[in-house]
Amino acid sequence: SQQGEEDPQALSIQEGENATMNCSYKTSINNLQWYRQNSGRGLVHLILIRSNEREKHSGRLRVTLDTSKKSSSLLITASRAADTASYFCATEGGTYKYIFGTGTRLKVLA
């Protein structure tokens, strides 16, 4: 079963706008990761945040983690058409397996 739930399930924005997607999970974690998946392709790792970190940046990406609320958010600033993809959060809880959420489908309109 899926551990994480992304919200919203789908998001459509104009190029240049910011996109925010959220992830909630159920159990304690060692780390949380965000991945991007273009249609029919494999997943691409975006960013990893450890359980003792609260915020992390990578280029136009900003990830926050609130372990007390068991939630994380991914912010993509100044979005581009090439950012159109599905985004997944994945948690690793010390059991040597990653549990993926249901995904947010982002569409960036040019």
């Binding site: 079963s1 899926q2 060692n30 780390n31 997943l43 691409v44 040597y96 397996k97 549990i99």
Partner: protein, 113 residues
């Protein structure tokens, strides 16, 4: 450096048959994980292997099995195929230790008729 490679890219089987999917990890990566992704859903964890030993197993029936070879490549085997096994099967490799990102191949698209 080559990324994670999976073969074949597409496969069509009929119910009751068996299938073997193959994965070569990134050079130097000793951990390989397998996932099943049904259309419109997130990947579901099947197995993780590290140094040829099974280190984690998801909620899949015994029809699913895997192994890892001395060169760290891996095979996923599925017996007695069902229509519901139609999915994209993804392989990911990572270096050892905690808090390491996983690197995915482009998957094998399995269709069961």
């Amino acid at each position: 450096d080559a990324g994670v490679t999976q073969s074949p890219t597409h496969l069509i089987k009929t119910r009751g048959q068996h299938v073997t999917l193959r994965c070569s990890p990134i050079s130097g990566h000793k951990s390989v994980s397998w996932y099943q992704q049904v259309l419109g859903q997130g990947p579901q964890f099947i197995f993780q292997y590290y140094e040829k030993e099974e280190r984690g197993r998801g909620n899949f029936p015994d029809r699913f099995s895997a192994r890892q070879f001395p060169n760290y490549s891996s095979e996923l085997n599925v017996n007695a195929l069902l229509l519901g096994d139609s999915a994209l099967y993804l392989c990911a490799s990572s270096s050892q230790g905690y808090n390491q990102p996983q690197h995915f191949g482009d998957g094998t698209r399995l269709s069961i008729l």
